[in-house]
């Protein structure tokens, strides 16, 4: 067991976890933040993407212990005072989600993409989301959602 202290969605968290606990399991099981999803077991699908110190990370590839001292944001931490994050708002406006399962990871990846590319082309958006699989939308409206949030992140 290892004791970790970190910030999750701006709240300080102190917990003892088994050494082999994945960050995604810690978020879902220990913190009951079930918006972060598990869609595969090979770090391919991106349903579990969160931000660790402002960068998108597949939380199934990281141990909770390695997040000691980190600042973690999950999908639950984006809405501020009842107002959706501009990327969340854009996904709603452009019908960028259907079943909603890949959505949290897709939104978290999109935010990182828009932070690192201020004015991405369609091609850059499509390449940038290559690590997130969606089975419902055919990606077209996800691309539109990201484009719709350019300049707002």
């Amino acid at each position: 067991m290892v004791k970790i202290t970190l910030k999750v969605n701006e709240n300080k968290v102190e917990k003892e976890v088994a050494d082999n606990t994945l960050l995604v399991s810690f978020i879902r099981e220990n913190l009951n933040l079930t918006g972060t999803h598990v869609g595969c077991d090979t770090s391919q699908c991106g349903s579990c993407v969160v931000h660790v110190n402002g960068k998108s990370v597949k939380s199934c590839t990281m141990l909770a212990a390695d997040a000691n001292g980190a600042d973690v944001t999950t999908i639950e931490g984006l809405e501020k005072e009842g107002k959706l994050h501009p990327v969340q708002e854009s996904f709603k406006k452009h019908h960028g989600l259907q079943c909603g399962y890949c959505t949290p990871g897709m939104v978290m990846s999109s935010i990182d993409l828009l932070k690192t590319h201020k004015n991405p082309s369609d091609e850059e958006i499509r390449k940038g989301l290559e690590g997130n699989i969606c089975r419902c939308t055919g990606y077209q409206n996800i691309v539109a959602s990201v484009k719709g949030a350019i300049g707002k992140v």
Binding site: C40, L97, G100, C102, R135, T137
Partner: protein, 791 residues
């Protein structure tokens, strides 16, 4: 009030999903819950000699290890095939016993052997390693093509043949072929796919010993049917004390229509152990144990006149069912397939023979389109080949054979009520700039690239389904739909539907219908679905049926509300009920200023008396309350149709195919929410293009699934697609009052042949799906080798 029907309304369901508040089965944790892990067969075919659970049972945290013997002792029944197919010799289809946990044999890698139940998931996983199974491994039957000539998998089912079914007039079709100017023949392979909803399956059983109620939370497209099957056939629990809840479900695509072994087992285990039991599928486990799709081998031929008229069609298909016959497995390659092989062409005679075989692979069942993509693929591929052999333009050849009179009774099953195939085909040709193709081809050639164009036209039979028709064809249930409109006294509305939304946006689309019908704002309408304890019995979501059948049931329930409202309004306004007009949420006595809002009427219905100043008289003898139920059984299928055109560019040095443009013009009848319809098209296209270029479930000769993870099974990604060009034409359906036809499957049905016709056009030689870079490169090498030899 502006009409909501036809408006691009943003989705009501989005906020919860976007903020991480969706509640999927795996997100649910119950007090005192146990965790379950399956022991699955590592062999494709084996006899089980012994199962030793003694060590595992003693492991830390383990509560029990359950086997098929325990299920037998508790008299739990096996899984069923729900649609009886009769072979051409008049005998019924042959289905093996399908116990939820195997007892004496296993028939695919991933088949269920035992369940380890422990206090924590980790303890269950650790103990699973201690279960020892002694197998006698047998030679696997893994090939669809060879199944009929291989060892018999299930005792008594000769040639591994479930049924040998036929449709159409063989004699008349043989005559058409005998008198044809030309016959074109083709072998077609429809590759096996894994549906891959992003949410892996999960189930939680929860038994209440006090009330004797059993609840199953599960990833289902169809909770009422699951409960019915688990009560009536698996004998898990009586239906009236059994609740099945399908909360938010992360995609289905057909793979979550029916109860799986895991559902039966979680329900039974919770009852047996008197504690909640939770199972969540891992992705590789899901590759192994979810039902797969497609997997057909077909030989087909068309009879032609020299003028380009198609005079007959013959289809001979082997369809792989996998290790057992799953619930809708037998209808998928028969009635959802055979009648559709005609496409949207006026072909006077056809004969279709389907042999369904068992193999030692995961069961195959409905996957987006279910039968219709396989049918469309073969007719559209052979139409291309026929046009080329006749030396005709492929577009002209198609147009020459379109159905033009409606209603049209096909030579097989369907009576197509409406359509205008020239309209969407011409619009698509225009939108895709067909006339400019040669110029673009030359530009590609200048860059060293091979450009091809492919057409695909299709019809589907959706709005599944008229009960009388499907039950006469072997369905074990009718396929009507239910709805209930419950007006609450304060004027807002709960709408109950027997369909289930797992991405389809019912919360929004159905609310738009109710808003229009009753003149109530969208925000005052709440859709309730996915819980057998809440709404009336329904038949779930699949086959693009929810709007055409479920939406119509909702519209009909709204009509009943208005009917009652008119009687109440007439009484309150001292007018006659047949005088009252209802418009935009108000009951009006024409040519007067007398009116009541629907909210006032609802309130009156719940307060049928006088209280102070509030006076709410109901007509004498009328029951209080404002709640109406409607069950709708459609009079016919609906027939969406469309034309898709794909252009690809192939790099001959690598074999890589890039979809350069994709154009579709679809006729879905009336659209309720065009934004949502577009999303459905996009998703279907991605799955269909995925089938054509990337996806393949591959079993080796020993029956091991080689492609059992996202490392090996190529899921389409954002950078695999261009921006799709989408447009519509509209001939409203005449079979339902909304005039809607269904749009959920069209993209997956139409796109594989559009892409493959384009690839074959580009490279000038045949290649099977998926047309991966390696296969295309090899096909090009082979082609140039043969050309050199010929020279």
């Amino acid at each position: 009030m502006a009409s909501m029907i036809g408006s691009k309304v943003e989705r009501k369901e989005d906020k919860k999903f976007l903020t991480g508040k969706g509640r999927y089965t795996a997100d649910i944790n119950l007090h005192n819950q146990l965790h379950a892990v399956f022991i699955r067969s590592p062999h494709a075919r084996a006899k089980i000699k012994a199962i030793d659970t003694s060590k595992a049972k003693k492991a830390a945290g383990v509560v029990d290890v359950l086997t098929g013997k325990d299920m037998q002792d508790d008299k739990i029944g096996g899984l069923i095939a729900g649609w009886k197919i009769v072979s051409k010799d008049g005998t019924d289809m042959k289905c093996p016993a399908h116990p939820p946990l195997a007892t004496d044999s296993v028939n695919y890698v991933g088949d269920h052997i035992a369940l380890v139940v422990a206090e924590t998931l980790q303890e269950a996983k650790d103990a699973a390693d201690l279960v020892k199974v002694d197998y006698k491994v047998l030679k696997a039957v893994a090939s669809t093509a060879e199944a009929m000539n291989s060892d018999v998998i299930h005792e008594g089912i000769e040639k591994n043949l479930c049924f040998d079914w036929e449709l159409g007039d063989k004699v008349k079709t043989d005559e058409a072929f005998a008198s044809a100017d030309k016959v074109v023949e083709m072998d077609i392979l429809n590759n096996r796919l894994v549906p891959n909803a992003m949410e892996p399956r999960a189930s939680i059983g929860d038994y209440n010993p006090s009330s004797e109620e059993l609840t199953l939370y599960t990833t289902s497209q169809n909770p009422h049917l699951s409960r019915l099957v688990m009560s009536a056939f698996n004998a898990v629990h009586p239906e009236h004390k059994f609740r099945v809840v399908a909360p938010d479900v992360g995609g289905g695509f057909g793979s979550k229509i029916y109860p799986y072994s895991e559902d039966v087992i979680m329900a039974w285990a919770a009852k047996r152990l008197q504690r909640p039991v939770k199972w969540v599928c891992e992705r590789t486990e899901s590759f192994l144990s979810d039902c797969h799709g497609r997997d057909h081998i077909t030989n087909c031929s068309v009879a032609l006149n020299n003028d380009g008229t198609v005079t007959g069609l013959k289809v001979d298909t082997i369809a792989n069912l996998g290790g057992y016959a799953s619930l809708f497995a037998t209808v998928t390659p028969t009635y959802l397939y055979g009648p559709l092989v005609l496409g949207l062409y006026n072909i006077p005679t056809a004969y279709c023979n389907v042999k369904a075989v068992y193999t030692n692979t995961a069961p195959v069942d409905a996957y987006r389109g279910a039968g219709r993509p396989e049918a469309t693929y073969l007719i559209e591929r052979i139409m291309d080949k026929a046009a080329k052999e006749l030396g005709m333009d492929r577009a002209e050849f198609r147009k020459k054979n379109f159905i033009r009179q409606f209603p049209h009774q096909q030579c097989l099953v369907h009576n197509i009520d409406s359509g205008d195939y020239d309209a969407h085909f011409d619009k698509a040709l225009n939108l895709a700039d067909y006339s400019g193709f040669e110029k673009r081809k030359a530009e590609s050639a200048a860059k060293g690239k091979l450009r091809g164009i492919g057409f695909s036209t299709y019809i589907e039979a959706c709005g599944i389904a008229p009960s009388a028709a499907v039950m006469s064809l072997g369905a074990g249930v009718g396929l009507w739909e239910s709805a209930e409109i419950r007006f609450n006294p304060t004027g807002n509305i709960s709408v109950f539907t027997g369909t289930h939304s797992h991405g389809q946006s019912h919360d929004t689309t159905f609310a738009q219908i109710v808003a229009d019908k009753l003149g109530v704002p969208m925000e005052n309408i709440e859709l309730v679905h996915g819980d057998t304890d809440k709404g009336p019995f329904g038949m779930g979501t699949y086959g693009s049926r929810s709007l055409a059948v479920g939406g119509t049931a909702i519209a009909k329930a709204c009509d009943k509300i208005v009917e009652k409202g008119k009687a109440v309004a007439a009484n309150m306004l001292e007018a006659k009920a047949d005088e009252i007009e209802f418009k935009d949420g108000e009951f009006i006595v024409p040519n007067t200023n007398k009116k009541k809002t629907i909210g006032e009427i609802a309130f009156a219905c719940y307060l049928p008396g006088t209280y102070g100043e509030i006076k709410s008289p109901l007509p004498e003898g009328m029951e209080p309350g404002l709640k109406e139920t409607a069950f709708y059984d459609p009079v016919n299928f609906s027939f969406p149709a469309g034309s898709h055109i794909c252009e690809v560019e192939v790099d001959p040095t690598t074999g890589e195919t890039k979809v350069d443009t994709y154009t579709c013009v679809d006729d879905f009848g009336n659209l309720i929410n065009p934004m949502i319809v577009e999303g459905q098209i996009h998703g279907g296209l991605a799955q269909g293009i995925g089938q054509a270029l990337y996806e393949n479930a591959y079993y080796d000769e020993t029956g091991q699934l080689v492609t059992a993870s996202y490392m090996d099974y190529c899921m389409p990604r954002a950078d695999n697609f261009p921006e799709f060009r989408i447009d519509y034409t509209c001939t409203p359906a005449t079979s339902n009052p909304l005039g809607v036809k269904g749009c959920g499957e069209a993209g997956a049905i139409a796109s594989p042949p559009a892409v493959m016709n384009a690839v074959v056009d580009a490279i000038g030689t045949e290649v099977t799906m998926p047309a991966t870079a390696e296969k295309v490169w090899k096909a090009l090498k082979e082609k140039s080798k043969s050309a050199r030899k010929a020279a």
